[in-house]
Amino acid sequence: MNKFISFLLTILFISTVISAQGFKVKAAGTQTFNFEDQSGRNQASFFSATPLEDITGTGSAISGTVSFDVANFAKTLKGKISVKVSSINTGIELRNHHLQSANWLNAANYPEASFEIVSVSDVKQTADNKLEFKVKGNYSMHGVTKEVVANADATYLDENDQTKKRAPGDLLGVRAKFNINLSEYDVDNALVGNKVAEKIELSINMVGSNK
C-alpha cells in the first residue's frame, strides 16, 4: 500500500513539474517585460525570396509588453508586441517607399503590425533560464488579423552587473520565427516590378526589461 501511495505521489510530482514549466531563476511571481527599446536593438525582420534577388528587411521601432508567472510560463504567458511599419528598412530607399505605400503595407492607414499571444505549447526547458516553445498568436498586418504559430525561445537573465549595462531590472531575450502568406493579408505581392514570394518569413529578436 505504501509503495502504491509513493508511486502515486511520484507520478503527481512528475506531472506537476511537466505541466508547470517555467524558468528556474531568482525571480518569482508574475513579471512584466517591456520591449520598447530606444536604441533600436530590438528588431522584427522579414525575408522574401524573389526571382531576381532575395529581400531582407528590418523594423526597429518595437513596442509592447509580455507578462508571465516565472514558475509557470506556458500557462500564464500573455502580451502583445508591435512594430511600426514606417521603421521597416530594406537597404534601398525606393523599395522602402514602395513597401510603405498604399499599394503595399499602407503605413498611413495601418501604421503597425502586431502579434498578440494566445497560447503556448510544446515547451522544452533547454537550460534553467531558457525555454523553447511554440506560441500561437493573432498576427495583424494591413488591417487583417490571422492566427499563426511561431517557433520561439526565451532566455531569462536575473539582474547582474552585465545586464545593468543594457537596462535596469531582469532581462528577457526572445526570439520567434513564423511564416505568413501575403495574399492572406490582402497584400499585392508586386513590388517595383518584381514578384515577391507569396510566403514571407518573419522573425523577431528582442530583449525586454521588467523595470
Binding site: E53, T56, T58, N89, G91, N205
Partner: protein
C-alpha cells in the same frame, strides 16, 4: 566608317564592358544599394543575432544598365555627328 566613328564605337564598347566588370566586381547584385546588412552577436544573449544596416555602396546591374544606355545614346549621337559629309555640287 571613318576613324572617328571607329574610335567612338571602341570607346563605347570599352565603357560598357567596364560597367559589366564593375557590376561583377561588386558581387553581381541586381539592385544598387547604399546600405548593407551585417550581423552582430549579442554579448548578453549569445544565441541572438542582431542585424545592423551599415552605409556601403553596392553597384547593381540597374546602375550598369542605365549607364550603358546613356553610353549607347551618346555613342550613337557622336557616330552620327562624325559621319562623312559629302558635298553635293
Amino acid at each position: 566608317m571613318n576613324q572617328k566613328q571607329k574610335r567612338t564605337l571602341i570607346i563605347a564598347a570599352v565603357i560598357i564592358v567596364a560597367l559589366l566588370v564593375i557590376w561583377i566586381a561588386f558581387g553581381g547584385h541586381i539592385f544598387t544599394r547604399t546600405q548593407v546588412l551585417i550581423e552582430k552577436k549579442d554579448e548578453l544573449f549569445p544565441d541572438m543575432v542582431q542585424k545592423e544596416w551599415v552605409n556601403k555602396f553596392i553597384w547593381g546591374l540597374d546602375l550598369s544598365l542605365v549607364l550603358s544606355v546613356i553610353t549607347i545614346f551618346i555613342g550613337s549621337l557622336l557616330f552620327y555627328l562624325f559621319r562623312d559629309k559629302k558635298k553635293i555640287n
